[in-house]
């Protein structure tokens, strides 16, 4: 019978943690460079966070005459206007900078519709006033921070504080790296980007917890093994799982890159990138950090958390008997 292909050999012995000096450099690069990029090129802030008006139109002729549209709109006195092709040659995205008041924001859209008339089909309009955009920035930042704190508390409760710190540090790494991607690719940064970041946080953490779980198990099992060796062993044992899971999630997500439509494209790019960065940081950030933070073995031998483990095992056995 077909047993499935073993994509990853069962007994890999790769020295992940021993290579940590290299990894520190890469991780530092992935954390610091995005911040520099955001400061220099900046993020392509969408209207969610900047306020403004966005109009997506489909022209009757293909390809769209961008210059003609620009000509019609630039004379309206609406300040900065961006006009670009969006997804297909006959689809155009018009972005108008935030207007001083909410009323002017409303009239800006009416003016554009008057100027373009019936030559185009209006597929989408979005107007975000200055009140909402500042609220969305505050809300988005708060959400990321609250998610991190919630996660830290859970990991601390289920493992030890060292694991919680390592998890959050590597999540910060994932988040900055992802923001860096937004800066490099100049993807629009908006509310769905925050959703993408939170999802990456959730997914990446999931991966870290799986490895932590194995580290915890091995700490109980190999009481005398040097920590470096133990960490490498844990990662290697989970390597097959990690690769298979990340490949399947990527496979599931990838079609959205190619035919998910423009609306979801940025989200899909960020997710795919986040899956890879998260996989990297589980192995090269979260695990080696245990060395720096100095995981206490005693914490897992006689302490309540081990008792809890036993209790769970006991419960599982009871269920098995049932």
């Amino acid at each position: 019978m077909f047993r499935g292909i073993k994509f990853v050999p069962a007994d890999t012995k790769i020295d992940f943690v021993s290579q940590r000096v290299v990894a520190w450099f890469v991780s530092a690069f992935l954390t610091v460079v995005p911040l520099v990029l955001v400061a220099t090129i900046g993020l392509n802030m969408g209207i969610d966070f900047q306020g403004g008006t966005l109009i997506e139109v489909k022209t009757k002729e293909s390809p769209a005459q961008l210059a003609e549209i620009r000509g019609k709109i630039s004379g309206l006195g609406l300040g900065e206007v961006q006009i670009q092709e969006f997804g297909a040659p006959d689809e155009v995205l018009i972005r108008i900078a935030s207007q001083p008041t909410e009323e002017e924001q409303q009239t800006s859209i009416a003016k554009v519709k008057e100027a373009l008339g019936d030559t185009v089909e209006y597929r989408r309009t979005e107007i975000v006033g200055p009140t909402i955009s500042s609220e969305l920035i505050a809300g988005g930042t708060l959400a990321v921070v609250v998610a991190m704190i919630g996660i830290m508390i859970y990991v601390w409760f289920r493992f030890e504080w060292q694991f919680a710190v390592a998890a959050v540090a590597s999540l910060v790494h994932d988040v900055t790296a992802t923001i860096g991607l937004y800066a490099v690719m100049q993807l629009e940064f908006n509310v769905s980007s925050i959703a993408a970041i939170l999802t990456i946080i959730g997914y990446s953490l999931n991966d870290k917890v799986v490895i932590f779980d194995r580290i915890r198990e091995n700490l109980r099992k190999y009481k005398r093994m040097p920590l470096v060796e133990l960490l490498d062993r844990s990662i290697n044992e989970m390597l097959s799982r990690a690769i298979l899971t990340h490949v399947t999630t990527l496979l599931a997500m990838m079609p959205f890159l190619f035919f998910g439509g423009e609306a979801i494209y940025g989200f899909a790019v960020a997710m795919c990138f986040g899956i890879i960065v998260g996989a990297y940081s589980s192995i090269f950030v979260a695990s080696p950090m245990q060395l720096i933070l100095g995981v206490q073995r005693e914490a897992f031998s006689g302490s309540p958390s081990s008792a809890k483990g036993k209790a769970e095992k006991g419960k599982a056995e009871a269920e098995a008997r049932a």
Partner: protein, 537 residues
């Protein structure tokens, strides 16, 4: 862990079956559903505004206007109270910035009496279920001969709440007249109203209808003033005001301040056509009090023009040919049929208590929505097929078990979404795909664990048994952390993002059920049936 009690197997079977049954309606177009027998579930997943097209409009109430109106009322109350008690006063002022009305009492001996009387204007508000109340709507204070009435925070909140409630009712009547299906109108935060109307195409008209205050007034035109001159000199005679029509160019009118009858006295308004000219008009009817007042006013002013004013704009200014005593009338103003129709809706629905302005607007055309469904569907199906193929390649038969669980998982997500009446958005579709990844992860964890246990020399049954029980702890830990992030997303997000969080939450919970229970039963059943010497894993 491989022996299941019969009732457990039956229960899981029923859940899975129900999942498929309740997910099934989503496979049919809604037109085909009508033809199916009534016992068949008909509930489909609601499509979000981004998928079916529609308008999302967030309004904010003009708090300043509301406060101003209220202070005006308080000032009127103060005046009336002092007059009826024959107390002399000076400097009756309202100050919107400090939310207060102040007055000075002429005679020192009257101050105490005035203070007692004015305190009666304040009423307790915010009574809660326990019978206590949080305070008065107005604070009355005194210093020397000056009495100040300040609007309190509770009072203001109460005002805003009731104004928002009234606005919601008004907006509902207006949107209903638009004839769209299932609009949602709800309060957001302190002073906001979110209006979501699916499937609407003419958003401009919708906004016009919702945002108009709709304050209707009948006033007399001042026959002694020359409107054109007043418009140039801006010297408006006392007791009158200068208003314009909506014509191009606007025509100025000098109107007397006194309101003959207002929209509050209107009981009905309907679009119609003028009997003689055939042009579109709005027919209206007053209540008894309004009819009486209007009758008397027209009787006294035959031959003079009066103006019909909507939101401080003159719609028309006809000359009164004869007294209008029946309490019904007609507004004509060069309307198109649609304008007459919208105006009648506006008048019928009543005025908004304060001005509303749009602070966020998102509209999606029906064609873009259809395109999004199409591309979302394509991508999701492609993603799922790739995952199913890969799982089979990686685990063979055990991959098939995982894939069956995956299908059950997707069916459960759709079943729960349909039953909850939740909304599927484009990010929600991406969420389902992500759940596929997460659900598969649980099975990957289990299968890898079983392989490990096999390598340590365990028998097939023992390997499967400890594979499941050991992986379970990891699965729970990892899914709980995902749920934490997702719950934050739900709390933060609105619209499409919230849809994403909902699908992800349902999906993660369903995946724990399918990956752990469904596959375990499948594997256990297979083990008992085949009794293999070794696992094909």
């Amino acid at each position: 862990m491989l022996h299941f009690q019969r009732w457990k197997v039956i229960l899981v079977g029923i859940i899975v079956l129900l999942g498929f049954v309740f997910a099934a309606p989503n496979l049919f177009p809604s037109s085909a559903l009508q033809g199916l027998p009534s016992w068949f579930p008909h509930k489909q997943v609601n499509l979000g505004l981004d998928l079916q097209g529609g308008a999302h409009l967030l309004y904010r109430m003009d708090e300043k206007e509301l406060v101003d109106d209220w202070l005006g009322t308080i000032r009127g109350d103060v005046r009336e109270s002092l007059r009826s008690n024959r107390i002399g006063y000076i400097d009756l002022n309202k100050n919107t910035a400090s939310r207060a009305v102040s007055v000075r009492i002429r005679k020192p001996e009257d101050v105490e009496r005035a203070f007692t009387e004015l305190k009666k204007i304040a009423v307790p508000v915010g009574a809660d279920v326990f019978g206590g109340f949080s305070g008065n709507d107005i604070d009355v204070t005194r210093s020397g001969d000056k009495i100040t009435l300040t609007a309190t925070e509770v009072g203001l909140n109460e005002r805003i709440s009731s104004a928002i409630q009234a606005s919601i009712e008004t907006i509902r009547r207006r949107v209903d007249a638009f004839g769209t299906t299932e609009p949602s109108i709800q309060r957001e935060g302190r002073d906001r109203i979110l209006v979501q109307v699916p499937g609407v195409s003419d958003v401009q008209r919708l906004k016009g209808l919702i945002g108009e205050t709709g304050k209707l007034e009948f006033k007399l035109v001042d026959p002694s003033a020359n409107a054109a001159e007043v418009a140039i000199s801006k010297k408006v005679p006392p007791g009158t005001e200068l208003l314009y029509s909506e014509d191009e160019p606007p025509i100025p009118y000098v109107l007397k301040d006194r309101v003959l009858v207002s929209g509050e006295n209107l009981v009905d308004s309907q679009p119609g056509f003028d009997g003689r000219t055939g042009e579109p008009v709005v027919n209206f009817r007053f209540d008894a009090a309004g009819a009486k007042r209007f009758g008397r006013a027209t009787q006294d002013n035959v031959g003079l023009p009066f103006a019909i004013v909507l939101d401080n704009k003159v719609i028309s200014a006809p000359v009164i040919r004869e007294p209008i005593l029946g309490g019904s009338g007609q507004i004509s103003g060069n309307f198109t049929v649609q304008e007459a129709n919208d105006l009648s809706v506006l008048l019928r629905s009543g005025a908004l208590p304060a001005k509303l302005s749009v602070i966020e607007e998102r509209t999606v055309g029906a064609s873009l929505g259809a395109d999004s469904i199409d591309s979302g569907q394509k991508a999701a199906i492609a993603g799922m097929l790739l995952v199913i193929g890969f799982m089979f390649a990686a685990y063979g038969l055990f991959g098939v078990f995982a894939n069956i669980a995956l299908l059950v998982n997707v069916a459960l997500i759709f079943a729960v979404l349909s039953l909850m009446g939740a909304t599927l958005t484009l990010p929600g579709i991406a969420g389902i795909v992500l759940v596929i990844g997460i659900a598969v992860d649980a099975n990957v964890l289990i299968n890898e664990r079983i392989r490990e246990e096999m390598r340590s020399g365990k028998s097939p049954i023992a390997a499967v048994d400890s594979g499941y029980s050991r992986a379970l702890i990891t699965i729970i830990d990892s899914n709980v952390t995902t749920l934490i992030a997702v719950l934050v997303l739900f709390w933060l997000g609105s619209g499409p993002i919230r849809g994403f969080a909902v699908t992800l939450t349902i999906g993660v919970l369903a995946s724990m059920f399918t990956a752990v229970t469904v596959t375990r039963m499948l594997v256990a059943g297979w083990l008992r049936w085949k009794r293999p010497k070794e696992l094909p894993l």
